[in-house]
């Protein structure tokens, strides 16, 4: 899996920001990002935010894409850019709690 390794606090903030980007536009949150706790390995205790290339190209509301939203650039800059993504062994991940 490819994505970002962040602190649990940053993970929660990203989740809320993605939801707000939709609700602030009068949309139901039909797409979301949830951090997955890392249980073992050198990053145990941190969260893994999945973000593959498909996330960039998925057609969204009105035919837009993730890159069309200004919040995306801001979040990506905060995370260090796409180049900061890392590959993580799924065996190290415990999926995030369901809503």
């Amino acid at each position: 899996m490819i994505g970002f390794i962040v602190t649990p606090e940053t993970s929660a903030a990203i989740t809320a920001a993605v939801e707000l980007a939709q609700t602030s536009r009068g949309l139901a949150p039909y797409i979301g990002i949830r951090g997955m706790p890392i249980l073992s390995g050198p990053d145990a205790g941190e969260h893994f935010l999945p973000f593959d290339d498909g996330a960039l190209t998925t057609p969204l509301h009105g035919g837009t894409h993730v890159s069309d939203y200004p919040e995306f650039s801001a979040l990506l800059a905060m995370l260090g850019g796409l180049e900061s993504r890392v590959g993580v062994d799924p065996e190290l991940i415990t999926p995030a709690p369901d809503a």
Binding site: M1, G3, V18, L27, A28, P29, Y30, I31, G32, I33, R34, M36, P50, F51, D52, G54, A55, T58, P59, L60, H61, G62, G63, V66, P90, I93, T94, P95, A96, P97, D98, A99
Partner: protein
């Protein structure tokens, strides 16, 4: 003097006589179908026909016919969520046909394509944003279904297609999925409430329905024909889960057993009799093949 009466041109349609949209044939389209279509078109930003270029007829007519048939057969009230993730658009594919409720896809890990969505088998899934109790399901009456367009490339352990499981409990379960032996449906205990059907990986396709109804737990499948490969009479077991339904994974332990097959529809509702499952699955087959031009495997 020649009396010339005023020319009276009556309206072709009196106001309010035809409140519903008319198809070209003059037959009205179903109101619920029209609401769904409007929501989909708002999400797409284009007419629905644009997103369904391979439809075999007017998509609005196809959708209306499906809803009308379910209502005529007194099955519509059984359905609580029906999702058609066929539009190659996350916003449109997240819309429920029954009440225009909205689910949530993970931004990463789900591929959207014409006619289906596909989870990556490790992190991608869809949250119905509704739990079994919220949908009115019960230990005596519950149902999950999915339309599998293509199976996972490999099944080395259980993969769950539609699920609601509380925490790490094996006694508060509503799971429909596959494992190395075939299909499996658990309502509401992973042991005493489990029914299975022995099928090869490549045969776990088509419309699959898990139904708890009339004291029985059943697995139904429609491919070219309809069958009931599992039908087990049994008392209530376990407890009704209270976690939101997910598609493409089990909610056990917060999320495991991710499913990587191609899905063209999924949903949940009240339990169905064998006859109801047979009728619904045939109607769903007609809907899917008509909208997508893809034959049910």
């Amino acid at each position: 003097m020649i009396f010339k009466p005023p020319i009276f041109t009556p309206p072709i349609f009196a106001p309010g006589v035809f409140p519903r949209a008319l198809s070209r044939s003059g037959v009205s389209l179903d109101a619920d179908a029209l609401l769904y279509i409007a929501a989909v078109e708002t999400a797409l930003g284009t007419p629905i026909a644009t997103a369904l270029p391979s439809a075999t007829a007017d998509p609005k007519r196809i959708l209306s016919d499906f809803v009308k048939a379910e209502k005529a057969a007194s099955r519509w009230s059984l359905h609580k969520r029906i999702f058609l993730p066929i539009y190659n658009n996350a916003a449109a594919s997240a819309l429920d046909m029954v009440g225009r409720n909205v689910g949530t896809f993970t931004a990463s890990g789900v591929t959207h394509a014409a006619g289906y969505v596909q989870g990556n088998g490790t992190s991608g899934y869809f949250n119905f944003n509704a739990s079994p109790p919220a949908l009115g399901l019960s230990l005596e009456s519950s149902m999950e279904f999915a339309l599998v367009k293509a199976p996972p490339a490999a099944v080395t352990a259980a993969q769950v297609i539609v699920s609601s499981v509380n925490a790490t409990l094996t006694t508060q379960v509503l799971d429909l999925g596959v494992d190395t032996a075939g299909l499996r449906f658990a309502a509401h205990d992973n042991s005493s409430g489990l029914v299975t059907a022995s099928l090869a990986r490549t045969a776990c396709v088509g419309i699959i329905i898990g139904s708890r109804e009339g004291g029985s737990r059943r697995l139904h499948q429609r491919r070219s024909a309809f069958s009931t490969p599992a039908n087990v009479l049994g008392a209530n077991s376990g407890a009704l889960p209270t976690v939101n339904f997910n598609a493409m994974r089990s909610t056990y332990g917060g999320g495991v057993a991710y499913y990587s097959g191609e899905l063209g529809a999924y949903g949940a509702g009240l339990g169905m009799t064998i006859a109801q499952a047979e009728g619904f699955s045939l109607n769903l087959k007609t809907l899917y093949e008509g909208l997508t031009g893809i034959s049910l495997p």
